[in-house]
Amino acid sequence: MTTMIDPPKAAGFHISQLLYDTRYRSMTIQVIVFLLVMGLGAYLLNNTIINLAAADKDIDFGFLGNRAGYDINQLLIPYSSDSTHWRATIVGLLNTLLVAFLGCILATIIGVVAGVLRLSKNWLTAKIMSFYVESFRNIPVLLWILAFFAVLSEMDRKPRSFRGEDAVNNMWLWDSVAVTNRGTYIPAPIWGDGSALVVITFLLSLLGIWAYGKWSHRRFEATGQILPNFWYKLGIFIVPSLAVFFLLGRPIALSIPEIKGFNFSGGLHIRNSLLALWLALSFYTGSFIAEIVRSGILAISKGQTEAAAALGLRPSRTMNLVILPQALRIIIPPLISQYLNLTKNSSLALAVGYMDLRSTLGGTTLNTTGRELECMLLMMMVYLAVSLTISTFMNVYNNSVKLKER
């Protein structure tokens, strides 16, 4: 008995193998795709070069060193119209980061409160929160920004109505905060000699709280004793800073806004543009975060709560030790993308005249220098860098709380 088998073909390479042999086909496809993409890129680049030459322009970032020549109404670092475009870009970027940072904090607070209350056993509260979530989620954020701005700038609280003995409007919080239609005035700290020491003490006490938390946790693991952590931590938070503050003779004073003539002076002036943008972004993003929090909590099966109760844990400890650590794992990844969305949506500042990166670099600088290509390129790169940085940091955090699987 002999078995007939095909003799192995000579190891020649046939051109059709590029298409029909799976070993080579993937290579063929990749080469074709690569050539197509390169070709498209070259085509666009070539057009750009021709168009730039026709318009008698070149690609040059040197304009960033020139005098900007325009004013910015909100400054976190010193800037004047004599500063460079580069400086203006930095100021704009800091303004973007400021509103994004404030927005992320407020949106998280609003979102967590609304998400938890939407699960409340109280029918009325749950319905109100549903109403909030559904109305904010389904209406464009741009409309919310404009609406908040209209509320703030059209309310009947002109600065001059705060004047006199029987003023029409009053300042809030023991005459320290003035909410007017031209912005809100809040007390501003004045840093005196030795204030740095107070700040350092404060930062050290934050470190102390963290160290204390670690220590008490280890003690709990070893002995099983539960300390009243909250009060101890609050003590560490307040006492050392206050002690240093009074020992050094109150180096930090407050500048309280006061009505002088037709306007307020002193204190910190928060413009309506910042306030409207901040509130609108926070409430809008908060409605998304509320849904994320709600679905995160709902995703933890009821058996977990029951098991914790069977072990004899109190409801608060059930929440802290059983539900939240598991829910956080589900909540954090979508939360990251909401933070990113908020940061990107802050570019809508344009609608209310808040001077963020898009209004300085992508707005006035672009218009006065006429360098669209460079400005847009730089702006996109900056936004990209900010987004990637935020997502990297948050991913590191996410990995630290993620379920460790083998």
Partner: protein
């Protein structure tokens, strides 16, 4: 016997069933359970009631006491002063006066019927896509709709859209013919080349020649820049939705693929688009696109915006679908391989139906986001509803009117987006096959 004597009372008959105590049924029970179950809950209820009362007492009189007929804001205020003695009431007259503009932008008034017909056709066209119970024959309307819409909205002779549509037929026929002769890949490339040649070199001259020879269905041309209002949102939103799903699908597959060149390109594209705000892309479309195109190319702004919005949301779509792909158990891929299906077959028959089902909520959320983002076109000079609200305010008759317009715009968006999300929840329930 002895024991029975000591029992003072023995019931001999059954008592009738008693009604539950008043505190355990009806409204009282419901109130107790849902509003006043504990001290904390009672406090919450009272706070909620106060909030509701405060909001409603501010809004309801303002809304329902409003004026519906006036030709300007000052006339509105005169009427209100006469009626109530103050002007703390809405002036809805701006809507009765300008609703047409808010919906259709500056579309010529005698041609608005075309926009309305296109809108009704749109409803007919998407019905069979959304609901299975609608007759399948209506899918032909869906296929014809894009070309009909372009013809109805922008006008001109019918030949242009018709010839473009013919290109798709040509593409399909040549694919079928070529596939019989050679492999799938070759057929795809060949038919693509044929289609592109047809669209780029034949459609333009042919439609001009036919248009002058046989002027059938010659509607008056409407320029892109007069389009606006709700209409432009629907046009941009719908095109973006229809195009971003397939592009997103391809990007998601590319990102999952083993071919690293393809993968690198897809990852780069997705991460770049997701990292920058839409507004910078729109500004690129309006300011920079002329640099990237051959000199002298005039490119319709609406089309540029549609392309940018599509690219933007397709990157998000790709991530949503990738999530669906990742959520599928690995066994599904292996089972498809074990059955001897090739890549496209297994994607089409096994992977995609399940992955898309998982990602329905995310896909619809992306659609909703895209539709809401169409308001951003206001910044590049397209008059969408928000842009028109500024234009209306710029008119001296309506200078200073805010809330009536914002409420109208918000309501329109709310209805569209809310119904989309409700539809997605309905679809999810319908497609659920698990045992929950």
């Amino acid at each position: 016997m002895k024991n029975s004597k000591s029992v003072a009372f023995v019931r001999e008959g059954m008592i009738d069933q008693q009604p539950a105590p008043a505190s355990q049924i009806g409204a009282v029970r419901w109130l107790k359970d849902n509003l006043f179950s504990s001290v904390l809950n009672s406090i919450l209820t009272i706070i909620s009631l106060l909030v509701i009362f405060w909001v409603l007492s501010g809004i309801v009189p303002w809304m329902f006491g409003g004026v519906w007929n006036a030709s300007s804001l000052s006339e509105c205020r005169d009427i209100l002063n006469e009626r109530y003695g103050n002007t703390h009431y809405a002036c809805w007259a701006v809507l009765t006066e300008r609703w047409q503009q808010l919906l259709f932008g500056f579309y010529p008034a005698e041609e608005i019927w075309r926009a309305v017909v296109a809108f009704v056709l749109m409803l007919v066209a998407i019905a069979p896509v959304l609901f299975e119970s609608v007759p399948r024959k209506l899918l032909w309307v869906t296929i014809a709709f894009p070309f009909l819409m372009v013809w109805l909205v922008w006008g001109g002779p019918i030949w242009g859209p018709l010839l473009v549509a013919l290109g798709f037929v040509l593409f399909y026929v040549s694919y079928v013919v070529l596939e019989r002769k050679s492999s799938t890949l070759l057929a795809l490339i060949g038919s693509l080349v044929i289609g592109l040649v047809w669209w780029m070199f034949c459609v333009g001259p042919l439609s001009e020649a036919l248009g002058s020879a046989l002027p059938i269905g010659d509607l008056e041309r409407v320029e892109s820049r007069v389009l606006g209002g709700f209409m432009i949102c629907v046009i941009i939103g719908l095109s973006g939705i229809a195009l971003s799903l397939p592009i997103g699908l391809i990007l998601a597959l590319g990102r999952q693929s083993n071919l690293w060149v393809v993968k690198a390109i897809c990852v780069g594209f997705i991460e770049f688009i997701r990292g920058v705000p839409l507004i910078t892309l729109l500004f690129t479309a309006s300011l920079l696109l002329n640099y990237f195109l051959p000199p002298g190319t005039a490119f319709d702004l609406t089309l540029r915006v549609i392309i940018m919005v599509t690219l933007f949301s397709s990157a998000y779509m790709a991530e949503v679908i990738r999530g669906g792909l990742a959520a599928l158990p690995k066994g599904q891929y292996e089972a498809a391989d074990a059955l001897g299906l090739d890549y496209w077959q297994s994607q089409r028959l096994i992977i995609m139906p399940q992955a898309l089902k998982i990602s329905i909520p995310g896909i619809v959320n992306t659609f909703i986001g895209l539709f809401k983002d169409t308001t951003l076109v206001m910044f590049i000079g397209i008059f969408d509803m928000l842009g028109l609200s500024n234009a209306i305010r710029a008119n001296s008759a309506w200078n200073g009117i805010n809330w009536e317009l914002y409420i109208f715009i918000g309501l329109v968006f709310w209805i569209c987006c809310f119904s989309m999300s409700q539809y997605s929840q309905w679809l999810e329930r319908k497609l659920r096959t698990g045992h929950h």
